[in-house]
Structures are given as structure tokens and as C-alpha cells.
Amino acid sequence: MIHDSSNDKSVAPIPGNSRRSLLKKGLGLGGLVGATLAGARTAQAVSGDPLITEVQDWNRYMGDGVDANPYGSPSKFESEVVRRDVAWLTADAKSSVNFTPLHALDGIITPNGLCFERHHGGVAHIAPIDHRLMINGLVDTPLVFTMEDIARFPRENRTYFLECAANSGMEWRGAQLNGCQFTHGMVHNVMYTGVPLKHLLAEAGVKTRGKWLLPEGADPAHMTRSIPLEKAMDDCLVAFKMNGESLRPEQGYPLRLVVPGWEGNMWIKWLRRIEVGDQPWHHREETSKYTDLLADGLARRFTWEMDIKSVITNPSPQAPILHGKGRTVVTGLAWSGHGKVKRVDVSVDGGRNWTTARLDGPGFSKSLHRFYHEFDWGGQEMFLQSRAIDERGNVQPTKNALRLARGENSIYHNNGIQTWQVRPDGSAENVEIS
């Protein structure tokens, strides 16, 4: 979001921006569903499947050689699996956001090219040889590092989610966007390679009065946020690789700050400077934006942690059930800025009754967790919900509980339980229920 739309023209719908083809589009997503639809609906084949009985082109003719794709791309049948934006949310694409297609992914790692983007002055393109990182302020020795200097510090590899504080922010006043890509797609999960920030700070020597940091980007927004020193000494990284390869330009190449579990805006991209100070700076992104306006007119500031949250990614409006009744897999993601996810419960009846889902894959602290719930669907209408609980005992709240506590103008930190209505025909819709 949308940060620039909090003056709130943001809910004005664009007339005629039709969504009626979404279900149809959903049928095409993933490629394989269209091809297997007929087979899936038929209990027993009555004549031989020509895909089996006849020789296909791809069985006969040569494909690409090893020199055709020096940097590989996804299959052409996956062309629908892309980041998408919502044009009416912001004034200009250079200060805007797009969304990760969560409904088309599985496991816990987000592919680099699908990690959602949010920047405030377009993507800066910086040659590593031209990049500098300065540490100044309340330090014994103000320093300048090159990328080569940074690569000489001890490195660590850690997997973290990054969630924009405004993820699900469009849903405060009720169900608005129809697809988990749009309601929850401002999150991604990446294994970073980087240097613990505490090592860089130790090199400059933080003075005892130093309590706060101001990281700054080299992009035209010169993005800044105030971060308490304790967080930097705890688990922040200065990262240069994501999922094994160099950061993508839109994720801050060649260097970004990683602030595990805290709102994405603080993960300064194109990181060029860190100032040490004795007080916070109260800059634009921590006053005018990223403060949470409450119903009584007061506003919370420095709401850094991203709270316990989960969403069912399949089925969802962009990924309906196409196979009819019978064996069905429900899957989704859960995460918490307070640590590991301990448990995820799934409800098919709108929160009346819950079943504990199966967590699978690595369960790292402050990382996405994948859950599955397999069951026999009788073809009845469902109201699908997921509810996550983290290791500190935080229980994902309902949206109504959040509205009761905060009102509807907070924009940020909406971690409420999502409901998808699944109809007997398998189509799904973002709804709020009584």
C-alpha cells in the first residue's frame, strides 16, 4: 500500500475494472489444471488418453541445448505466475508496490523474481564497485567500506520473512481485494547471506551514548528509519545475497539491511550509510507513515514487530478447487516476528470448529512456515480460515477483534484471520462473515 494513499482516496473503486474473468483466469493458473480437468472429473477412462497412446511433439523432436538459456527461466506454461500490482492504490509506479503470487507457490522459499517490490523512487541500479557503506555519528572511528571490505567479514546464512507493515492494509474496512496475492502478497521469504551488523559496528566502535541507528539508502528517496541499537546487536544482517545469488536490483542490490521479524520498510535497500545517535530521528517513514492511527485519534509509533499471522493460499480466489469433491489439500503460510510458529489450526466452517494442521518443512524463527490440511471434501460450501499460534503464545486474532481494539484507520499491522468462501462449484471469494 498505499502508504501514500492514507489520505484516503484509497477505497474508491475504479468503475468498470471488471473481475469477472478471474475465475476463468484461475482455471489457467498453474498450467496443468486445464489439461487434467477432464481426467480428474472422470472416475474411469472409457477410451485411451491420446496423451498416452499417441507420440507427442515433445517426445519426438529435440529441445533446447545447454547453450540456449545461460540464465534459466520458468516454464512458458507458468507465465501467469508473476508479481501483479493494483494500479489505483498509488499515484505513480515509481513509488508503489506489487504483490507476490502466494497462491502459485509452495514450500517456504520465495523465488527471487517473485518477491514483492516496494520502493519510493524507482529501482536504483548501482555497480558494486561504485557502492560505499559509511558508518558515522557516535562512533570512535567513522568508516567507509567497499563491497570487497564487507565480503571480508564473517558471513552468516539465515532465512527470514519480510512483510510490509501495510500487508492486508486494504482490508481494514472489510473484504476488498479478491485474491491472496493482493490481500497477503506483500510478504516474501528468503535465505540471506550477509554480515551481522554488530561486526560492522564493532569495527567503528559505538560510543556509550549511542543508542539508535539511522540506516539510509542510496536511492532517490534516500530512505531512512530509526532502529534501536539493541536490535542491531541482536540479529540484524547487512546482506548481499538472497537465495544464493546476488540481491536483485529491486531488493536493494548490492547491499540491504535485514531486520528480522520487523516491518519491511525498515529493511533499507541500497544501504549506503548507518549513523549512530543518542535519539531516534522521527523521519517521514516513522511519523507521517508507519504509525498506526487509532479510533480515538491517538497514533502508535515505533510499531516495529510483525505479529503472528497466517493465510490459506490454496484454495483461494485465484486458485479455486477444480477437481470436485473427494480428497482435497488445503495449504497455506504462517509467520511471526516474535519467533517460530508453534501451531496452525484450520477451520472449514468459519471458525466454529478447528483442526490442527500439519506443519511441514524447515521451521525457522521469523521465517514463513508451510502448513497442510488434507481431508475428504463433501462438496459443501466452506468458510476456510487459518489461525496461527507462535512460540510466545500469541494467537492470531480475528479481524473484528483488531477493529474493536484499534478502529479501522490503522492501515498497518492487520494480522487478522482471513476467510475464503468456497462454493460447491469450487470457486472461492474473499468474504467477511457474521
Partner: protein, 369 residues
């Protein structure tokens, strides 16, 4: 071949032939000398064009914004963007035969308002003739459909990579190890380097530079630099941020969060304008310009009168009205936080679930085509 010549050669190789013909403005006087500075650089022009992109679009989906879309500008004729409401003086110039070429567009970009008094193009002008020729070269690469013409394209990523790969560096065998720190990495930051980058301003006054600016001076700057996006009275054009008004709306259904109604500190205004504005031309304003614009934004929010001058001495006597209404994070007071009770597993809510609201009714989700 020295490293220097090799670098030069790799740059020249990447400059498309079509682009070179736009270099005449700069190169006429040194026509016998081949210098890379002579080549109008469409790539550099593309970067510079981000200054223009707030008002002018290019590309297959370009539409008119505050200014007309510019697809095929150098070949389509002047004043022909469909649906754009050109100024009277612009239309008059067109009827008198205005054509955009290297010379006329260069003169217009140098100072639109003196080349054509009365034009809608509220832009002060681009001082650097090199920058102007680069922008013109870039615009010349874009055809009427908004696509980059074959052979005139901007430098590919691959070509840039080649440039880097060709740089040869000696091994740093004899470089002494610094004494600072634990691992002795990095080097001392020089005073002028810190000054160049350390521009942040804090509410307690740390970082505020010397200088002054009046509401009157700010008004002139604002109309040229800011009003096209933020509106003449700070009301916000389109979806650009609203800067003024909104007092007493914070508890309403549609709060307007402006400098006057919401922002806690004036230092934030100074800091943000200085580091990030105007959009597409950051760091182009002087410290006095930023004082003047900050003063004018106070005036638009009814915090000062029109004779006011803001300076480093009176800056901290100004307090914004909403300062006291910011509180610490209190989410941990909410009932779900570190809940001591196990969540309910069965018969948790009475009655069957029924739809209270649907996303489809709003119909605001993009199709994604």
C-alpha cells in the same frame, strides 16, 4: 593498450549509431576530436528523464498526465498528443510552425517559461546543455508506439557488464593494514564525505543547517517544483499526497493525515524535502530553498502568516499541533497477545457462518491481463 583506452573503446562500442546524430550541439566545435563526452547519451537521458516522468509518460501504455505523453515526440510534430489540453500560447506556436528538433527542444528545455511565456510546463529548466542533449537523444529513441526503435536502444545490461569486466586491477599486495577496529577492515571516512552524506535533521535540532527562507519565496518555488503533484493549495493532485488541511479529521471515517493535521515534528518536513523532493530530482534544492518551502507548507496549514520567514533560530519555536497525540506501541495490551488461555477448538461461535460482506461487490481487483 592502456586500461584507459580499453575502457573508452568499450563505451563507444555500446553507443548506438543512431544516437550519435544528436550529438551535434555539443560536438560541433570539436568535430575533429572524437571524445566520449561529445556523444549524446540516450542511456544517461533515460536516467535524467525520471525528472520528467512525474508529468510526462512514455511507453506503450503512456497516457497524458500533467503534461502530454511524449511517444515519438521528435517525429510526430508539436502539440499533437491526443486529448491533451495544450496552453493557448503553445497552440499558437504550433500554428506558427513550431517543430521539435534538436535546436528548438534544447532551447525549450533550457527554460520553458522564457522560451514560451504562458506555457503550462511549470518547470524551471535544465541548466546543463549536456543533460538536455542526453534527454533529447533518449526521446528520439522512442517511437510513436512508445517502443524503443531497433538500433537506437539504450545500452543493454550486457554491455554494461562488459565495461566492468574489462577493467583490470593490480593485486593489492602492498597495501598496509589499517589499525582501527577489530578486523581492521574499511578506511577512515573523510570529513567532506561525512558532510556530503550526513544531511539528516532531528526534532532536537541536530543536523539543521544554517539558512533562512520566507513564505513568499516558498510560494514561488512551490508553484514550480511541487504544485503539479501536490496541488496549488497542498490538496494533492490525483493520488499524490495531500500536504495541507485535514485538521480535526483524525477520528473521522476518512482521516486526512497532513503536515498540519498529523505530522508531529517540523524537522521531518525539512529533512524529507531536503532528501527526497522534488520527486525525480532529489537533492536539487538549496538549504535556503528547503527553508522557504518548509515555511510555505506551514503557511498552507495556517500555522504562520504570509510575512513569516523561517530560519535556523526560530525553527524550534514552531511546534506542530498533533505532536502530543503519538504514543508508544501498545499492541501487547490487546487480548490476543501472549494469550494465557488455549484457543477454543470446537463450537467456538454460535450459529452457522453467513456472508456479511464480499470482495466482489467492490470489484476493485485487477484482472491482471
Amino acid at each position: 593498450m592502456s586500461d584507459g583506452t580499453r575502457w573508452l573503446q568499450s563505451v563507444l562500442v555500446t553507443v548506438p549509431g543512431e544516437v550519435r546524430k544528436f550529438s551535434l550541439l555539443l560536438c560541433a566545435v570539436v568535430a575533429t576530436v572524437v571524445s566520449p563526452l561529445c556523444q549524446a547519451d540516450a542511456n544517461a537521458g533515460k536516467v535524467l528523464f525520471s525528472q520528467c516522468a512525474g508529468c510526462h509518460a512514455v511507453g506503450p501504455d503512456a497516457t497524458n498526465r500533467f503534461g502530454p505523453q511524449l511517444n515519438g515526440l521528435m517525429s510526430r510534430g508539436a502539440g499533437v498528443a491526443d486529448g491533451f489540453d495544450y496552453s493557448a500560447v503553445f497552440n499558437q506556436n504550433v500554428s506558427e510552425g513550431l517543430k521539435w528538433n534538436d535546436v528548438t527542444l534544447d532551447a525549450y528545455l533550457a527554460s520553458p517559461m522564457s522560451y514560451m511565456p504562458g506555457t503550462k510546463m511549470a518547470y524551471p529548466g535544465l541548466q546543463s546543455s549536456e543533460a538536455r542533449s542526453n534527454i533529447i537523444a533518449y526521446l528520439a529513441t522512442i517511437n510513436i508506439d512508445g517502443r524503443v526503435e531497433e538500433g537506437t536502444g539504450t545500452t543493454s545490461e550486457a554491455a554494461i557488464t562488459v565495461k566492468q569486466a574489462e577493467e583490470v586491477r593490480p593485486l593489492a599486495i602492498d597495501v598496509p593494514i589499517p589499525e582501527h577496529g577489530v578486523l581492521h577492515l574499511g578506511r577512515l571516512a573523510l570529513e567532506d564525505e561525512v558532510v556530503a552524506w550526513d544531511i539528516d535533521v532531528r526534532p532536537d535540532g541536530l543536523g539543521l543547517p544554517a539558512g533562512a527562507g520566507s513564505v513568499e519565496a516558498g510560494a514561488e518555488l512551490y508553484d514550480v517544483q511541487c504544485a503539479s503533484c501536490h496541488g496549488v493549495f497542498g490538496e494533492g493532485e490525483g493520488r499524490w499526497p495531500i500536504l495541507a488541511g485535514g485538521q480535526d479529521t483524525l477520528t473521522e471515517e476518512r482521516p486526512e493525515k497532513t503536515i498540519g493535521s498529523y505530522w508531529p515534528y517540523l524537522s521531518t518536513v525539512y529533512d524529507y524535502v531536503r532528501r527526497a523532493m522534488p520527486f525525480g530530482n532529489a537533492r536539487s534544492l538549496s538549504d535556503d530553498d528547503v527553508y522557504a518551502l518548509t515555511a510555505y507548507l506551514l503557511y498552507l496549514n495556517d500555522e504562520v502568516d504570509e510575512s513569516f520567514e523561517l530560519n535556523a533560530d526560530n525553527f524550534y519555536s514552531i511546534r506542530l499541533p498533533n505532536e502530543a497525540n503519538f504514543i508508544a506501541d501498545s499492541r501487547s495490551d490487546e487480548s490476543w497477545f501472549e494469550a494465557s488461555v488455549e484457543p477454543c477448538m470446537s463450537d467456538c461461535v454460535e450459529g452457522k457462518a453467513a456472508v456479511a460482506q464480499r470482495a466482489r461487490v467492490l470489484d476493485v481487483t485487477p484482472d491482471g491481463e
